[in-house]
């Protein structure tokens, strides 16, 4: 028996009656190729279910009594949230100085040079192309990818367009994610196994060409870098990414609004 694609999907979804499901189960047991298809579908289904970060939604926050009585239901709720988010944006950036070390170049050049070069691994014009300006000599362990927390920055109008891993000549294994904005903005996030050179403090490791922050989050060192983005906006994004990398939690709704406000009130990125 060779089940068609519809039957396989229905089997994985538990939508078949007992007899049909039993028939497919017998077919799967006797055919490794079929078993692999079912495993891939099952994996896809469960990964899809986990792929969306569902926030806490309180209907009383979303819907006030006034909302249900007026034509435009957004007024009171959204206005209050924007005011709160504007305050939060200011607090986040100001508060970042509490755990941010203003001393530049506190980590060695041997550490920073290959990490910052990772920004050249992808380009805004063609993010799927491998520019490979950092020499890669081999492959990296999947363990690194499992530990990295790569946040969703769509609230800041930054879309993830590039993800890859590289093993560079000095032995470092880098996990690289690239985000692109709609106004020429480019952000690169790099993660590597902790080297002992960083702690939880967010350190400024900027160069003339790149604005960059680095920090440690447990087993990993992270670096976030940008080109041409306004400093305050990038600091807010870096603070947000740092917190997400520590908590492994999605960005809060107030922070998302703050990121959106920051983007709306900042200039396009210089390239």
């Amino acid at each position: 028996m060779k089940p068609d694609a519809n039957a396989l999907n229905a089997y994985v979804d538990g939508e078949l009656d007992r007899d049909d499901a039993a028939a497919i189960a017998r077919a799967v047991a006797g055919d490794p190729v079929l078993a692999r298809k079912v495993a891939a579908l099952s994996n896809l289904r469960s990964t899809l279910a986990e792929s969306v970060e569902i926030p806490d939604l309180d209907i009383n926050d979303l819907v006030s009594v006034e909302n249900t009585n007026v034509a435009d239901g957004k007024n009171n709720f959204i206005n209050k949230k924007f005011a709160l988010a504007a305050c939060l944006a200011g607090l986040l950036v100001a508060g970042s100085y509490l755990y941010r070390d203003l001393t530049t170049q506190i980590v060695s050049d041997d550490w920073t040079t290959p990490v910052l070069a990772a920004n050249n691994l992808w380009s805004l014009d063609n993010p799927t192309a491998e520019t490979a300006s950092v020499h890669t000599v081999g492959a990296v362990s999947g363990e690194l990818a499992k530990l990295v927390y790569v946040p969703d920055l769509t609230s800041a109008k930054l879309q993830m367009v590039y993800v890859n891993s590289h093993h560079v000549t000095d032995g470092a294994a880098l996990y690289v994610a690239g985000y692109a904005g709609t106004r020429g903005c480019k952000i690169t996030l790099v993660a590597q196994t902790a080297t002992g050179q960083l702690d939880g403090v967010m350190r400024d490791i900027s160069t003339q060409e790149l604005h960059a922050f680095a920090w440690n989050a447990g087993p990993l060192d992270y670096v976030l870098m940008s080109q041409g983005m306004e400093s305050k906006r990038f600091e807010l994004i870096a603070t947000t990414v740092r917190q997400s990398s520590i908590d492994h939690q999605p960005v809060s709704s107030e922070t998302r609004i703050a990121l959106g406000i920051s983007r709306e009130t900042s200039a396009p990125c210089l390239t």
């Binding site: 229905a10 979804d13 939508e15 896809l44 899809l48 819907v63 959106g260």
Partner: protein, 176 residues
């Protein structure tokens, strides 16, 4: 007030699934939250919501989808919602063997963004919002068999998009 409180309590159990579906459609957390808010407002303002639970659920999801389509029109965004179920030819799911290594949350998220709206729609209902084929059929007002073929086609499209993506499988390190 008591009636309004009861109406709200009726909507509450669906909030998270509605968000999941909204996110599948718009791929943006802020828009998704706004869509859920608008959906809840419209549902609570309706004079005669369906009484039966299956019909009420389908009605909520339809409100959300229509709100999303209104948003697209307002933003003058055109999406491909074309689907011809009669033209569907059963496709054998050819697998290259690397799917297991490539299927992780990150690759799935990136690939979903690249899918046409019509595929995100059915995947959003069944895989993310967790509706059964029958429940999805009620929302979309199509036969259950058509839901089966659409989900099959959407998952194949997603797998192919993942395969073509720029995320590479993690290989074991070679000794130098």
């Amino acid at each position: 007030m008591e009636q309004m409180s009861q109406d709200r309590q009726r909507v509450v159990p669906y909030m998270q699934r509605l968000y999941g579906y909204a996110y599948s459609l718009c791929q943006n957390p802020d828009d998704a939250r706004d869509l859920v808010q608008e959906c809840a407002i419209k549902a609570l303002k309706a004079k005669t919501p369906p009484d039966e639970t299956p019909a009420f659920q389908a009605w909520l999801f339809r409100i959300l989808k229509n709100t999303y389509l209104d948003l697209l029109r307002h933003r003058r965004v055109v999406e491909n919602w074309q689907i011809d179920d009669a033209m569907f030819i059963d496709q054998d799911m050819e697998f290259s063997g690397s799917e297991d290594r490539l299927i992780n949350t990150l690759t799935v998220k990136i690939s979903m963004e690249a899918l046409p709206a019509v595929h995100r729609d059915i995947l959003g209902l069944v895989d993310i919002a967790g509706l059964s084929y029958g429940e999805a059929a009620l929302v979309l007002e199509i036969p259950t068999g058509t839901v089966m073929s659409r989900i099959s086609r959407a998952r194949l499209a997603l797998l192919k998009t993942i395969e073509k993506g720029n995320v590479r499988p993690m290989l074991k390190a070679k000794s130098l």
